[in-house]
Amino acid sequence: MTSTSPLYSLHERIWHWLQAVGMICLILTGMAIHYPDRFGIFGSMANAVRWHSWIGFALIFNGFLGIFYHATAEKYHHFLPRMDDFTGAAVRQARFYFYGIFKGEKHPFETDPRRKLNPLQKITYLLLLNILLPFQIVTGILIWGADRWPVTFSRVGGLWVLAPAHTLGSYLFLAFLIGHIYLSTTGPTPTSLLRAMITGYHVEEGKMQ
């Protein structure tokens, strides 16, 4: 018998899954571009390039929708770490992941509609959304613009700079995705966090029987 409480709004869930699908598609099409002879699932490299560009722009658009939503619904504070989140709270969360979780301890921070992310999540998203994502967007747009703004493209070093940079960012996103999916199993039950992002309802750990 478990007790659940609402956690994610419909907007948040749709936005999240669109981001997830978009990211996975970008990684797959990116793989098809980076390894065209070993990952030809899109028929041709040219198709992969086109899909990659379209999905990239769709994801950017979705990103702006997310910013708009979080700003207007005043939910951006979920992503804003406090000073304590970088120090004591982060240590407690890390201790939980590296020790407490194996001992069956409770999560150090309760998740509720006012506090959806733990301190390490906040720090991760801070880096992801403010550094890695813009970095990928900028390098991606510059690569996309090679034909449109060749002078700018060349000034920033052309493909010899942009392509490896964008590729490195992609690897880091892939690593994040893997970690994100794995850590989604660390809720009260292995699937509870996943279900929460589908149904919107969160299993309250303290009320589990």
Partner: protein, 710 residues
Amino acid sequence: MPRLVEGLCPNQATRSQLILLSMFLVLLCAVGLGQNSGVAASTANTAREKTLRLAHPQIVLKDEAGQNVLTSGKPISTRQTCGGDCHDYEYISNSFHFQQGKNEMDRALLTSHGAPSFNTSPGMFGKFSIIPNRQLTASDVKDPSDADMSQPEWLTKCGGCHTGGGISEYDLRGHRFLSPDAKPVGLLDPSYTIRERETGQVIPWDWQKSGIAEADCFLCHIPKASRGERKKEMGAGNFRWANNATLSDTGIVTRKENGTFTYNRDAFNKDGTIRAEVLNISDPVLENCAQCHGFTARNTTTIQPIQHADIMRGTEKSGWIYNGAKISDTVSPNIVGKDNMDFPWDAHAAAGLVCIDCHFSPNNPGRMIQEDPKKNLRYKPAEQDLAVYLRRPDHNFARGNIPPETVNLTQHDTMRACGDCHEAEKVHDFLPYKSTHFRSLACQTCHIPAVHFWAYRSDDWGFVMDTGGSRITYRGIEGSIVDPESEIKGYLPAYIPTVDKKNNQQIRPTNLITGVYWFDKSKGRPVFTWQVQNAFFAGKAAEGEFPYRPEILKAFADKDGIIDLPQAVYDTPEKIALVKDLLKKHAGVGDPELRIELVPWAMTHGIAGKKQAIRDCVACHGKNSILARPVDLNTSLPTGVPIVYRGKNLNVVNFETKEPSFDNRVLLNSFYIVGYSRAPWVEWLGWLSVAGAVLFGVAHGALRLLGGRS
């Protein structure tokens, strides 16, 4: 109208002829329109040929005194026949086809184009050529050991193709041979001497006996011109009759045993003019250009590039066949796999284009490049004075840029290039990043996916064979190049970055020719063939074979005392050192150095249509990108010697492969080829982070399970 008449031959041109000339231009316009229709083009071409015969006024063949040769019996003077009142002979012959660099002997010009300092001109008349390993002797030569090919010898060797005028009329100081001012300066003056083959001594050349070869207009403007007969006379030093020899197949002249020619009365009209249908003056047709530049034909199923002519540079250097016939229809020679080649040798030839459609006279008002590509598809005379053009047609024909070729370098990139007729951006919809692709790749890169003929692979002057010549190998053929039964398998291009018209680095397909030769560091120039022969041979045998020196035999021959091909290699440093010593001792070479030079010859003909062109992205972007594929080189390359690529020491040969191969990775470093290029640290860091995430998940999950927390 008066102006036109004045510009043309005043005593011959008529209004009707001008009208016919206009008709001819309009018909050429139809040729352009017919590009997409072989039938239309063929019809237009046939019509054009008929019109051409009518277009040119009837002429008198004159001798050097301006007399009709029919009465004087003397050699034809093109200066008098074609020049005089009609065409500006001096203007025409002051162009590359007649000068071959003679009018470009400018040190500053050479330096500005990065040509090696030992060349005296950027053209064939002055530059060192790796294929014969020879060079025209500089006019200021002082040391006999610096004398290689004098002007008369150059003409006997190369004058078959190089069309007289300029190089065979004027000495290196600009004096016309046989004129009062034409006198040698010193005993080594290369304009008045020749190195005697038997003795090796530099001796005087008798210009009175040889005569002068004036510009051979017939070679290019008479469809039945015979380069072979011309070559015989030039080779024999019978320069003054060379232009007559070119007419051997027309029925106008007959050669006599004493080397002179008689004129056949039947070829002339009663008034002494030559019968128009016999001389048949026309714009150069494919066959004219083919005589020297490579196999070219409108549509033929039999290709005999070597058998019918002894030199076909374009075909030899990069294997191109400009022919509209389908490869599958080829009867001879033996093209392996031709049954699957249901496409023409060259898409442009199949569309009816002829050489001068792209390599036109730059001041021809009907052929100048138009800004609107669509206009380039039509032969449409502009509003310029045709008479001016016909009097002074610029014979510096529009040309491309075939790195590393330096000949006619002031005219590079003047021809009608792909983009002048084709709007690539409007098609190629399958291709992402069109501009980037078109900026980085020459059109030929995708449109010459393979060469279905043979071409030069290497020319090795490092070790001279007992014929006195180099060892030449070919790629794309199993067997001899002169045997029609040899299997022609073709070959794949090497892709080389080169600088294009807009100063962009462009990757283009090439045939890599590897040269091995000796270089004299003390003189800063290559060692000439006669010097290498002196080092290797102890004289010359009567049969034409050269006997090797005992030291050479001892070091290279096997037990039977004969040096066969497998033994003619430098497989130890000692063998290189031995030949160095012999070059110093017997050839006066101060500081010899054996060198390897890789010369990429750009492919420009043999264009494939869109169905055969490369469309598969993986071909270039995959791990095994064709752009970086190894290209087989001369299997007998010496190791441990400098490798020269475009004038620089650059290690582009990989000796680690089964046979020495071209390593293109160094040159491709300026390109990031998505899918192929890698920044190793990015890959390492990237995959490390991914692997770290996976390992974290697996290890963490396992510990959770072990800890009993699901």
